[in-house]
Symmetry: C2
Subunit: 152 residues, 2 copies
């Protein structure tokens, strides 16, 4: 398990291969983002996008899956306070395969709770061609190693 | 249909009533955010949360549904560039009923494409008790009225 002390500013990771299907794009959007260009192929063809595109929130959720099953897998995560500068840079379309790249930008111990550390991490979602589809700066919280020893 | 010209800085809207179930929390998280406190009730009981909580991305997706089916319903939306200052302020738990409040903070015409306008809008997701669970500043794009007349 990696604790706050084990995270280094500047460390990068690349992870994953998530294949995005038309069926999943439509299913997500029907529930959470039912705009015509996300749920209806012919309406999408007539839209500014010209084809069916994934909801930006769907793209974000896919990147979160890649983060949780990849870089976060061995971290003592305590959740996240939020995300800054979430940007959708290119629409995701059926057949895209997404991966992520993460880079730790900054870290510091919480002033209000010394058992936790804050880690700011840039995430990029990318297609197989290397196009960046999404980026964000995650404001994560990670347990300190000695906090756990103090408990046990 | 409301175009860029019809949106006023300072205008607010409140909308929606979305009931969040345990089944939906687990289903979303199994697909997109499989951390123990989102997918497993007994693991969640032992976590810092003390109970099953929705993925923050699930909470965001629910707020997007409320935005699309409410305030955005009659807008000539052209999508969004991104979101700033996304914050998860309180976990969402089974049985919560969510609504949203929106407030237009700023608007301006795109310099690169005068057919579109930029609208910055603060969104808050709230429980029935009025607790704010999430907030973000959406960076939306809305068609200008005369852009459409020019096309037809």
């Amino acid at each position: 398990m990696r604790y706050y002390e084990d995270i280094e500013i500047g460390e990068t990771q690349e992870f994953g291969e998530y294949h995005v299907t038309k069926e999943e794009i439509v299913e997500f959007a029907e529930q959470y983002d039912p705009q015509p260009f996300h749920v209806d192929e012919s309406a999408a063809a007539d839209s500014a996008f010209g084809e069916l595109v994934a909801s930006g929130w769907h793209t974000a959720a896919i990147c979160m899956r890649l983060l949780v099953t990849g870089p976060m897998q061995d971290r003592a995560s305590m959740g996240a306070r939020g995300v800054d500068e979430l940007r959708w840079k290119r629409p995701v379309t059926p057949g895209d395969t997404l991966s992520i790249r993460t880079e730790v930008l900054d870290k510091r111990v919480s002033e209000s709770d010394p058992r936790r550390g804050y880690v700011d991490e840039r995430l990029e979602g990318r297609t197989g061609d290397g196009d960046v589809v999404l980026s964000w700066i995650g404001l994560g919280m990670i347990a300190r190693r000695n906090a756990e020893s103090a408990d046990s």
